[in-house]
């Protein structure tokens, strides 16, 4: 922790300022989107549970900025950042969180089931680790079809204690599939410290034990995440098989937006607050010569956009109730049918 800004300063002269300024824009958009979503709880606009990724934005942006639109992404219940970074429409997403017509999934999924197949985002998932076999299967299909696309599967540190983690990584290796597993390690399995629940050295060691190359990086350093993700995805394209990126970050909120997270150590929280990934990237850019005005603009524009989106989503109608019965399955009538 705390080294990212120094590293950024060291390499400031070589930094691709345009690329990282765009990343800063996206990170602020994620932060502003989630803060708006959390704020909306006061107005009862977000209805079910939401799981903010505030503090983890560098992972979403650093990974997704290395993916093409047609590449495939599998995400988690804490997936707003991944989804935005993959290019999903923020207004449609906010409508989905509010359960409104025009939501990404027509209001049928909500925060935990956002998917946008148009941008290759194959779904958040309400079940921890369940996206791992699905990602392996998506990559399996790409290989069967002889496609050049790749798959990225992001999951949390809690997921590595579920069976599908073992099954999915083993599968990906056995079939030599183009999938990058990203363990977005925010330190918590719901409301419990993952370290207290995890035997052995963790995600990277487990991946390596199955023959997947693995790398542990500072997940709050957007520059480091970008570099590692770019190298990993290049290796996938070169046919070098699946791999894992272990990104160490920190969840600045509770498990859900309404969890006060009293189980955390205050000093720990403050330490991580000082390592805020957005502020670190902003500082890196400043040192690299990006103007204060441009850096401030990134934040201001993001909050202005999300304020507008918030209002627009709030003013959107509910889905037509007939949609309750659509897209269940082609065969059979899901409604009760009186005999006639």
């Amino acid at each position: 922790m705390g080294q990212g800004a120094d590293m950024g300063a060291d390499m400031g002269g070589n930094l691709d300022r345009e690329r990282f300024t765009a990343m800063l824009d996206t990170m602020w958009r994620i932060r502003a989107f989630e803060e708006a979503a959390v704020r909306s709880l006061d107005e009862k606009l977000v209805l079910g549970a939401i799981h903010p990724s505030i503090g983890q934005e560098a992972v979403a942006v650093g990974v997704c900025c290395n993916m093409e639109r047609e590449d495939l992404l599998l995400s988690t219940h804490r997936g707003h950042g991944h989804t935005l970074a993959k290019g999903a429409d923020a207004l449609a997403m906010m409508r989905e969180l509010f359960g409104r017509a025009g939501g990404t999934c027509g209001g049928k999924g909500g925060s935990m089931h956002i998917a946008d197949f148009e941008v290759g985002m194959l779904g958040a998932n309400g079940v921890v680790g369940a996206n791992i076999p699905i990602a392996a299967g998506a990559a399996h299909a790409l290989k069967l079809r002889g496609e050049k696309r790749i798959v990225v599967c992001i999951f949390g540190d809690g997921a590595i204690n579920r069976g599908p983690f073992l099954e999915g990584l083993n599968w990906a290796k056995v079939f030599d599939l183009p999938v990058l597993f990203v363990c977005e390690d925010n330190n918590f399995s719901a409301t419990t410290h993952t370290a207290a629940m995890t035997a052995g050295p963790g995600a990277a060691a487990r991946a390596e034990s199955l023959g997947l190359p693995a790398q542990t990086i500072d997940g709050n350093d957007a520059v480091a995440v970008d570099e590692a993700a770019r190298a990993a995805i290049a290796a996938l394209h070169a046919g070098e098989g699946p791999r894992l990126l272990h990104c160490k970050t920190y969840r600045m909120t509770g498990h859900t937006a309404v969890d006060p997270a009293g189980y955390r150590d205050a000093a720990e929280v403050e330490r991580w607050r000082a390592a805020d990934p957005i502020l670190r990237l902003a500082e890196t850019l400043r040192v690299a010569g990006v103007s204060d005005e441009r850096i401030a603009d990134a934040k201001a524009k993001a909050y202005a956009e999300m304020d507008e989106i918030y209002a627009s989503a709030r003013d959107t109608a509910w889905p037509d109730v007939s949609h309750a019965y659509t897209d269940v399955q082609d065969l059979g009538d899901p409604r009760e049918r009186p005999f006639s």
Partner: protein, 328 residues
């Protein structure tokens, strides 16, 4: 028409559909060697190991990978080996495959067939003998199919592979060697359509899977006694053919549902309740169900038999329905 086994019919269905549609592939344990029962024998030689994929013993990942592969332009056939093992993959089937289309607002389909051999067979005991079809009929998003003849195993499996939603396809292990006539050509049995195996006007028996054959023998015997049973093989359990069942019960006024699964919360309860709700005014006797007692399936044959619905219990139940006289 030619006579082939139920097992060969399933194999032929897979071959024909894989030849017809290159997006179709199969994945499961030991498929390259023909599958545990030989249902895939020779297929790896025809289609290659990529489309007849041997997998690790990772049921959750087999099912979950099929979901991802189905979302990504292919049409996987999942082999679960024994339906009991599919319980290791229930999240992937129930929370993922069945719900993806709906919860993602219809952005995509999950066209996959999950073959799950069910039923009692050669003293296979508690973890290799179950019939859990009612678990699946309870889940919105799933189609549930239970073929009982070679012709239907060919025609229903082909239809299942062409269906755009996840299908749980329950073949009965005790029927693998069952031989029967199968039509030539591209034989498709429509999903959701029951078969009237035998017409009669005294009692309607609704059944499926291996119990169809036990019921058919019982009906033969009853015919000798002058009791004309109308025997209906549901074939597809979701969606089930209400029209055909209701029309039959309107005619007979008596219903017996027979299945191999445990009676309690079995799919027979759904049929019994539906008929009771819709046709109570037509019923001449209470609806009856026959299934297994609520015990795990035992290994020793005399104990295992206690979980079996016998031909005699069916004939007894039919006679009791015929002889039913309401208390006055």
């Amino acid at each position: 028409m030619s006579d082939i086994t139920y097992l060969e019919a399933g194999r032929r269905a897979v071959i024909e559909e894989m030849q017809r549609d290159e997006r179709v592939w199969a994945l499961g344990e030991d498929l390259g060697r023909g599958g545990v029962f030989g249902q895939y024998k020779g297929l790896a030689e025809i289609f290659g190991p990529a489309r007849i994929a041997d997998t690790p013993i990772s049921e959750a990942c087999i099912m979950g990978a099929a979901v991802g592969a189905a979302m990504t332009g292919t049409r996987p056939i999942v082999e679960m080996r024994f339906s009991d093992f599919a319980l290791c993959a229930i999240d992937e089937l129930v929370n993922q495959a069945a719900k993806a289309r709906y919860m993602f607002g219809g952005q995509m389909r999950v066209p996959m067939v999950v073959r799950e051999p069910v039923g009692m067979w050669r003293s296979s005991a508690a973890q290799h003998s179950q019939s859990l079809e009612s678990w699946y009929t309870h889940i919105p998003g799933l189609v549930v199919v239970a073929p009982s003849t070679p012709a239907d195993n060919l025609g229903l499996l082909k239809s299942a592979i062409r269906n755009d939603d996840p299908v749980v396809y329950l073949e009965h292990k005790d029927l693998w060697g069952f031989t029967g006539p199968v039509p030539e050509g591209d034989h498709l049995t429509p999903l959701g359509e029951a078969e009237i195996v035998r017409e009669g006007d005294a009692v309607t028996i609704v059944t499926w899977s291996a119990m169809r054959h036990v019921c058919a023998r019982a009906a033969e015997k009853l015919a000798v006694e002058g009791i004309a049973v109308e025997l209906i093989d549901l074939r597809t359990l979701w969606p089930w053919d209400r029209e055909r069942v209701f029309a039959s019960v309107e005619k007979t006024g008596r219903l017996l549902v027979v299945h191999e699964a445990v009676t309690v919360s079995g799919f027979g309860a759904e049929i019994a309740a539906s008929v009771a709700e819709a046709l109570h005014h037509r019923l001449k006797a209470p609806v009856r169900r026959l299934g297994a007692p609520r015990i795990p399936i035992a290994y020793a044959p005399p104990l295992e038999d206690k979980a079996r619905v016998s031909q005699d219990s069916i004939t007894d139940a039919v006679r009791s329905l015929i002889g039913y006289a309401p208390a006055s």
